[in-house]
């Protein structure tokens, strides 16, 4: 179990992580979602005691990270690709980590086998591809057979096969009862893997909910209709008590999963349809809306609490709304 309590990190004036409190529980995959620069990596570095929080607290099974004896046997982390010396072989890289935590060398061979790097174990890591690098990083995380695992953007830059492998690995680890905490900036990825979702934007908590709940709340289904007999169809829909969501648009949209009913209605009224398609708003859109909304709210509400003074000086161009950055990333 990983517990964050009021975790805050400031770099000078900039607040990277703002009063984060949530708990990562065992036995499930907890997705940590946020746009690039939302503070995910900073949060994960604070969990490992690499960055010191400005205020607040992180505890691993009730202890601070530096109180853990042989920490790799409690929590394993994939932080970022290529956090190792390129001139060292994969085997020696893992061996030096293992020795520092009293893990036997036989375990090094085991994890190399698990991630499929046995054949290149004696090769220098600087020749490794991005995918091999991710695998080596994951081998390092698995080294101490820890109860908790933390992966920072594990699928970044991987090919479909590698992505599939990591998804399955995380599911297996969670099914074994371990705590799995994985960050991503892709909602679609989280929808496929995570059981629980923690969303942050600009360093602050936006949502802490189960994945199923998030999907139920945020995925709107509707039917899109095109017709040359627009007015007749509008009348017919009104007569049947079906509300049109966007009556002004070129294509009509009606809420609900009711393509069949609309089609039959049109047939009864002998209306020609050019399109009749069931649609589902993507979770990606829901996520973007969530992160964008958080900022609009603060923009109307004056300065966000805890923001450093001088962040919005008069004369400066207004800050870009949240989410606009996200599309580029």
């Amino acid at each position: 179990m990983i517990e964050l309590e009021g975790l805050t990190k400031r770099y000078g004036e900039k607040v990277a992580v703002n009063n984060l409190s949530f708990t990562v529980r065992p036995g499930i995959i907890t997705g940590f979602l946020g746009p690039n620069g939302a503070g995910k990596s900073t949060t994960m570095r604070m969990v490992l005691g690499l960055d010191r929080p400005t205020s607040g607290d992180v505890r691993i099974d009730g202890k601070h990270y530096d109180q853990l004896k042989d920490p790799l046997t409690y929590i394993g982390a994939l932080l970022e690709a290529k956090a190792w010396h390129g001139g060292r072989s994969a085997y020696n890289h893992l061996l030096c980590l293992a020795q520092s935590n009293g893990i036997p060398a036989s375990r090094v061979r085991e994890v190399l086998d698990t991630v499929g790097l046995t054949a290149v174990a004696r090769k220098k890591t600087k020749g490794f591809s991005l995918g091999m690098g991710q695998r080596l990083g994951i081998a390092g995380a698995l080294l101490g057979d820890p109860r908790m695992l933390m992966f920072d953007e594990p699928v970044n830059g991987l090919d479909p096969e590698g992505i599939h492998w990591i998804r399955n690995l995380m599911k297996t680890l969670a099914a074994q009862g371990r705590t799995v905490f994985v960050s991503s900036h892709l909602m679609s990825e989280m929808a496929l893997t995570a059981d629980h979702l923690v969303v942050i934007g600009q360093g602050r908590l936006l949502a802490d909910t189960s994945m199923a709940e998030f999907i139920a709340e945020n995925s709107r289904s509707y039917v899109r209709i095109r017709t040359p007999q627009r007015e007749q169809l509008l009348d017919a829909l009104q007569g049947a008590g079906i509300k049109v969501a966007e009556p002004g648009a070129e294509a009509l949209e009606v809420d609900g999963d009711i393509a069949q009913a609309v089609g039959e209605l049109a047939a009864r009224h002998q209306i020609v349809l050019h399109e009749l398609s069931p649609q589902r708003a993507s979770l990606e859109e829901a996520f973007m809306q969530l992160t964008a909304e958080s900022v609009e709210y603060h923009a109307h509400d004056g300065q966000p609490p805890g923001a450093a003074p001088g962040q919005q000086q008069p004369g400066q161009p207004p800050q870009q709304p949240w989410g606009s950055d996200w599309k580029r990333g």
Partner: protein, 256 residues
């Protein structure tokens, strides 16, 4: 034991990168070869020297002439041992594995220092005996007064240079920046400060100038240096302590 685990881990790190072999190898070869060359040149030109120079001729110190260049390889060794952690990003893996930063740094410096000490001692004795072999009838004997002290001191000097570099690299957290400061400092600035009369008295308290005093057996005629061989090495050791304490303070305070 936790400390033993860190030492074992750091030994694996240091023996598994090529830079360890080539920096230490270069230090050995350059120090010995240059010492032999200058010893041979000194012998051939001994008769052309002034009376005073012949009177204060120090065959032991001459055989250590290669140290001035060989120490640069030692500096690179010390800088890379610590600095590579930062330039490669390995530091984050290392500190996640050993979150007690003092234990991490102490283990790393202990292992690197032990290795540097062994290599430096071998180098120092080899430089002395091979240098004396070049000097023919001018040679000093290891049993002469002060000579054994100078030879052992030569090994300690090289070791302390490496330790000082480790401390500086831990403070600056970048191998390129550390080398960019240490190399010109030891190769040029220290020498210039030491030979300009106005700065001479300050220059002799710099780590390399104070420390190299231990390799002298014959004192120059107009010598007014206010410390002896061990005093000089002590001054150098103080520099090393200061650099390591500074490195520890930075590691302790900064985010990795």
């Amino acid at each position: 034991m936790a400390a033993a685990q860190v030492v074992r881990s750091e030994w694996t790190k240091i023996r598994s990168v090529a830079s360890t072999v080539w920096t230490l190898g270069l230090a050995v070869v350059v120090t010995i070869a240059l010492g032999m060359l200058i010893s041979a040149l000194s012998k051939s030109q001994f008769d052309d020297m002034s009376r005073e120079d012949r009177f204060t001729f120090d065959p032991t110190f001459i055989s250590f002439a290669g140290t001035s260049l060989g120490q640069l390889a030692m500096i690179v060794f010390g800088v890379l041992v610590v600095g590579n952690e930062y330039s490669s990003g390995m530091i984050r893996n290392s500190l996640a594995a050993v979150p007690r930063r003092g234990a991490f740094l102490a283990g790393k410096i202990m292992v690197a220092t032990a290795l540097a000490l062994v290599v430096s001692m071998i180098t120092s004795f080899a430089a002395f005996f091979l240098g004396q072999a070049m000097l023919g009838d001018l040679k000093a004997s290891i049993g002469d007064p002060g000579v054994l002290r100078a030879v052992i001191g030569g090994g300690l000097y090289m070791t302390l240079i490496a330790m000082f570099s480790m401390g500086v690299a831990a403070m600056l957290r970048s191998p390129m920046l550390s080398l960019g400061i240490l190399m010109p400092f030891f190769f040029l600035i220290s020498n210039i400060l030491g030979s300009v009369p106005a700065t001479e008295k300050v220059g002799r308290f710099l780590p390399d100038q104070a420390g190299s005093r231990i390799m002298q057996v014959v004192t120059p005629l107009d010598d007014d240096v206010p410390y002896g061989p061990w005093g000089g090495l002590g001054i150098m050791a103080l520099w090393v302590v200061a650099a390591l304490v500074g490195g520890y303070a930075v590691l302790k305070r900064r985010d990795a």
